[in-house]
């Protein structure tokens, strides 16, 4: 009975070690990186040194690995890093990257679509009307479409609209056909 218990425990330990060491990546500088520079795939590479690193250190590296796979963060060198040095929390710092996490807010049977607008960053936008310009006339494609978020990309304000899949298909068709006009809904109620 005791033997079986001990055997189970013993079998657990190498499995835990194996899982950690196989799946965790460690990075090293493939060139000198100056303090304040962005850490990216351009200047670091995965290294084979991971076998030398103990479990405690791997826990730290896990955060670093997240920064490469999860673009919600940007990683910078907090000090000069020499070619061959390991990338660690001690020689790096990361900042929050303004990538919105919106997918969990999307209601069932609706989709989120990114739409460029002429708005400025200060404007509060809860809902928009989407119109199509044709022969000097405006045709409303969708009215009072809920906006879940906005972001500035390349000097343009992008709004993330939540609407049904068919309306999004329609918007795609009209975007291909010509120019869309987006205006803030008069009635800014949540749809």
């Amino acid at each position: 009975m005791k033997k079986l218990f001990i055997l189970s425990l013993i079998s657990f330990i190498p499995t835990a070690l194996f899982c950690q060491s196989v799946y965790t990546n460690v990075f090293e500088a493939k060139q000198d990186i100056k303090k304040g520079s962005l850490i990216s795939v351009e200047n670091v590479m995965a290294t084979t040194k991971q076998k030398q690193v103990n479990i405690e250190t791997l826990e730290e590296f896990k955060t670093i690995e997240e920064l490469f796979t999860n673009t919600r963060f940007k990683l910078f060198a907090s000090q000069d890093i020499l070619k061959g040095d390991l990338i660690t929390p001690q020689n790096t710092a990361y900042t929050a990257f303004k990538k919105p996490v919106l997918d969990r807010q999307i209601k069932p049977d609706t989709r989120l679509y990114a739409l460029p607008t002429p708005f400025n960053a200060e404007q509060k936008i809860k809902a928009v009307d989407i119109l199509f310009k044709s022969d000097g006339q405006l045709k409303t494609l969708a009215a009072n479409v809920k906006v879940l978020g906005k972001r500035r990309i390349k000097k343009k304000i992008i709004v993330y609209i939540q609407t049904d899949p068919l309306t999004i298909q329609k918007i795609c068709s009209y975007r291909e056909k010509g120019t869309l006009a987006v205006k803030i809904s008069d009635n800014q109620s949540d749809k």
Binding site: S8, Y113, E176
Partner: protein
């Protein structure tokens, strides 16, 4: 009661194994993330689309193209109409990447869907984001521009 301790030990082992593997999934290289019988397909997307997706997102892929449509009471126009179809639904994004200022996502699709997507790349492709818990796949009508 006799085997209770060993049963608990085995349970602890199983729970630890599963939780360790679940955490490890995020740390995999792209090749390791692809389930058996699936493929990772690179898809170029616009900067605004890239701003709303990340690894783990669920998306629909839409294709916009010109088509000759015959609708009731109307003749076929010579120029063709611009139509949009939902090509693939509930597709998992395995990874996002920016290469030479172009945004790419690697989507998890079957080899058959990869063939369709390779063909569709000659047309305009858009993506829409869905709630990751909303896995419903429904037949979608074609959307066209009305004259």
């Amino acid at each position: 009661m006799k085997y209770m301790k060993s049963l608990i030990a085995v349970l602890v082992f199983l729970i630890a194994f599963v939780s360790l593997n679940a955490e490890a999934v995020n740390d995999l290289f792209l090749g390791q993330k692809i389930p058996f019988s699936y493929r990772a397909f690179p898809l170029e997307i616009s900067a605004e689309e890239a701003s709303m997706v990340s690894a783990g997102s669920r998306i629909d892929i839409l294709m916009t193209f010109q088509a000759m449509l015959k609708r009731s009471g109307r003749s076929i126009s010579q120029k063709g109409e611009i139509v949009t179809v939902t090509l693939l639904q509930n597709i998992l994004v395995l990874e996002t990447s920016k290469i030479q200022n172009k945004n790419y996502i690697f989507v998890n699709i079957t080899p058959r869907d990869a063939q369709y997507l390779a063909l569709a790349q000659e047309q305009t492709l858009n993506i829409s984001l869905r709630n990751p818990k909303d896995r419903k796949i429904a037949p979608m009508p074609v959307a066209f521009t009305e004259d």
